[in-house]
Amino acid sequence: MPIHISQYQLFHFLRSLRYNQSIMAPQSPTTELPLTLRVSEQARLTLAERAAASGTDIAGYVSAIVEQNAQRPLSLEEISGLVYRKFMASGMTDDELSDVLETEKHEARAQRRLHHGS
């Protein structure tokens, strides 16, 4: 059965992998899933480059991406890690954090408008 991976999905898969230490092999037994991918030539080249850089072929690389995508979402605790501990150590309240984040958001937006002249 042909499977379409849009450039959008591919972009995010590749972006996420860029920040991972390595492509992890699945822990549970694997099963064969023959597919036909329809991607742009540019995407194919990018996949081939990334696969080679990871020491695998396109099939192995895409399998790792699909495996990662199928995993459960990480919890907020897992994602935040030491950020939350630093926040707790800062003594800042949630309301104070909210105020400072809003201020910084509006400063960044103002900078961007200034930069883009709008």
Partner: protein, 158 residues
């Protein structure tokens, strides 16, 4: 038939959730990750989340590019992406806030969650601009995270 409520979160809800996982922002994001609500995202919204590591306070507290990307990657596992967002609403008080309203309209979401005073002011009574907004978009509510978490129902009928 009922479906999880479609919601838009302001970019800072995500940043605040990353920093204070046990605060109201964290609870909102947990609801999204648990699919108790249908989170709606767009590329401009993701772009604003991606700016978090460049801002002083998140950077000081350890919000890095990889951490932010990991959050986004996990949000993308549960969220609906709206790619075409027509500009139906403009907001002179903060033009960037209009995207949240336009995204809600495009995705047929009924709630925007934000701590942005400009956005929240659209729900105030007694202000002509807010009154006009509420008449034009009576189905759309803008709530702060605490108000949102008190919502009695997280489902809406089709």
């Amino acid at each position: 038939m009922s479906f999880p409520l479609k919601v838009i979160y302001d970019c800072n809800i995500f940043v605040q959730a990353l920093i204070n996982i046990n605060g109201p922002g964290g609870a909102c994001v947990r609801r999204a990750l648990a699919k108790e609500v249908t989170l709606v995202l767009s590329e401009p919204l993701l772009a604003e989340i991606r700016q978090a590591p460049t801002k002083p306070t998140p950077a000081r507290l350890g919000v890095t590019i990889p951490r932010t990307e990991t959050l986004i990657e996990n949000l993308l596992k549960v969220a609906a992406i709206t790619r075409i967002v027509p500009e139906q609403f403009t907001y002179a008080r903060d033009p960037d806030d209009a995207h949240y309203v336009n995204l809600a309209l495009a995705a047929e979401a009924t709630v925007i969650v934000s701590r942005d005073k400009d956005l929240l002011s659209l729900m105030e009574s007694g202000r002509p601009e807010a009154a006009a907004f509420q008449v034009r978009f009576p189905f759309l509510r803008i709530l702060d995270p605490v108000q949102f978490l008190k919502e009695p129902r997280m489902l809406e009928r089709s």
